[in-house]
């Protein structure tokens, strides 16, 4: 009794406080139904007031990128709020540049819907859908990289451009989180989505994917991303990447070779050991050139190719400064920066370079 009473009394007080707060929430946090207008009347929804803009969008089946589950820590869920968003909050400021703040960009997870609200988001986001899919194949590529293939269930087809990515939902102790992965399967395969994932020690998303097995069900939204392949077959495609950056590049290369078997295309890839995915393709397509740069060739192996940094190999092997080129880069920020410099010296214009940092 002597121990039970304090516990009961404290529990009772907590229940009382919680009940009072719940009642207060019902009465106070009730903003009725608000109008959500996207891209000047392109889409209009009625949403419940009082929730965040991000959850109102998700509820209306409009998916914008977000990785942290609405806690305001990833800074991905940017949307331009034209009216009805209230002033900028201190929790958003660190994620926005001055230019973005001036043009009204906000983090959707921090904006609360209290009145009719008008927003602008990139047209592409309106094509984003939520997919339910089943794992159809898990392939181990290296000791820490797997290639996961998902067969789409609902909706059954996906329309994507080469180099776009999906946001996969992974469970975590603090609720589901979203992680972005580039699609490695080409757009012509509309029934599958394939991703390449490197295991990050302690990573929520990569651990989840590495532990998937065939038949498991997954859920993701997509496609996102602004990679846009030039349709002119005379433009040479240059892909530069490292590690698990292969996924979007593989997608771009497969697409290029599928549509234009004779198009000039080259892959510069930094890795520990050569991946043999592309050797077959290189034999079939004379204009597809691969340069691997191994970071640590095995002792005594007969590797006669490039070693060291990929941007140096690129500098040595990319010939002719005048050729029309489009470049796709995927890798860690220092690599992207070094490769951008090389490309600039070779006369590739900024708008023809697409990159994905991770």
């Amino acid at each position: 009794m002597e121990f039970l009473l304090p516990a009961l009394v404290f529990g009772g007080i907590l229940v009382g406080l919680a009940a009072a707060l719940t009642v207060a929430e019902r009465l106070l946090v009730n903003y009725g139904v608000c109008k959500l207008d996207i891209n000047d009347g392109d889409r209009e929804f009625d949403v419940d007031g009082g929730q965040s803009l991000l959850s109102a969008l998700n509820e209306s089946k409009v998916f914008i990128p977000s990785a942290c589950g609405g806690r305001g820590s990833c800074g991905y869920c940017k949307a331009t709020v034209l009216s009805g968003g209230g002033p900028l909050l201190p929790t958003e400021a660190p994620f926005l540049t001055r230019a973005e703040i001036r043009s009204g960009v906000r983090l959707a997870c921090q904006v609360k819907v209290r009145e009719d609200i008008r927003i602008k988001i990139p047209e592409d986001f309106l094509n984003v859908k939520q997919f339910a899919a089943t794992v159809s194949e898990m392939k181990t590529l290296t000791h820490d990289m797997v290639e996961a293939t998902f067969a789409l269930d609902e909706p059954a087809v996906i329309e994507q451009r080469a180099g776009q990515y999906i946001q996969l939902t992974a469970p975590s102790p603090e609720g589901p989180v979203q992680r972005a992965y580039s699609i490695s399967s080409p757009p012509s395969d509309t029934e599958h989505v394939q991703i390449v994932v490197r295991l990050v020690p302690g990573g929520i998303g990569s651990t989840y994917i590495h532990n998937l097995s065939e038949g498991d069900e997954v859920s993701f939204t997509g496609p996102y991303g602004d990679f846009r392949l030039n349709e002119d077959p005379d433009v040479e495609v240059v892909c530069v990447g490292g590690g698990s950056g292969m996924a979007p590049l593989k997608n771009v290369i497969l697409t290029v070779l599928e549509h234009w078997p004779e198009r000039k295309c080259s892959l510069f890839f930094g890795c520990r050991t050569t991946a043999d995915v592309f050797e077959e393709l290189a034999k079939k397509h004379p204009n597809f050139k691969i340069v691997y740069a191994l970071s640590e060739p095995e002792e005594g192996s007969s590797w006669a190719g490039e070693t060291g940094f990929i941007h140096l190999s690129l500098d040595r092997h990319l010939e002719g400064a005048e050729a029309a080129r489009q470049a796709f880069l995927c890798g860690p920020p220092p690599m992207i920066e070094a490769v951008m410099n090389v490309l600039e010296n070779k006369g590739v214009k900024d708008e023809d370079i697409f990159y994905d940092e991770f």
Binding site: V9, F10, L89, R114
Partner: protein, 196 residues
């Protein structure tokens, strides 16, 4: 129960027994949010409101629930729970009825939950066995005292932007030195009224 008039307690809580400068309670938000006078005023106002109200609520909970049941040992966690719930309530209320104030105070309200000055005021009220009105006066005075201290130091820190502070002292270090000097200055009020 002491027989001091509530008004004297109010004055004492502001000057002679300033919760921050005499007891050094509520230092975390004091050091974190004292870079600009505007924000210091905002946080100070929120603290005044919450200390006054929670002291009154905690007085009721303590004397009408905990004392009759002989559970005064629970005072610490119960007070914390009451303060946390009250802050939540205030946040909802302000958001609903004054969006402008909400955006001004917005991020400060949650900070108050963990401001130990507020728990300190409630505990002093018990230790010094104040009556209800004495408690409310002490709560209000404690809040005003805290606001006075944070606004003073925010003014000083703003001015300090123009002075050449030796490098090892920049930031929080010099703020703590100033707080110490200010605490000594406030000792000049000692003896004016005595509430202990």
């Amino acid at each position: 129960m002491s027989e001091i008039s509530p008004f004297l307690i109010l004055i004492a809580a502001i000057f002679t027994n300033n919760i921050l400068l005499a007891n050094f309670l509520g230092m975390c938000s004091f050091l974190a949010v004292s870079k600009q006078v505007d924000t210091a005023l905002g946080l100070g106002a929120a603290v005044i409101f919450v200390t006054t109200m929670t002291t009154a609520i905690n007085y009721g909970v303590y004397h009408f629930v905990l004392v009759p049941l002989g559970l005064t040992i629970l005072q610490y966690i119960v007070f914390i729970a009451v303060i946390a719930a009250f802050v939540q309530f205030v946040e909802m209320f302000v958001e609903r009825f004054s969006l402008k104030l909400y955006h001004a105070l917005g991020i400060f309200l949650p900070l108050i939950t963990v401001n130990c000055a507020i728990l300190g005021v409630s505990l002093f009220m018990i230790i010094r066995s104040y009556s209800f009105w004495q408690s409310v006066a002490f709560g209000f005075g404690g809040g005003v005292g805290w606001m006075l201290a944070i606004v003073l130091i925010a003014g000083l820190r703003q001015k300090m932007g123009y002075s050449n502070v030796p490098r090892p002292f920049r930031g929080v270090a010099i703020a703590m030195v100033i707080t110490g000097v200010m605490a000594m200055a406030f000792m000049g009020f000692a003896g004016m009224v005595n509430i202990q």
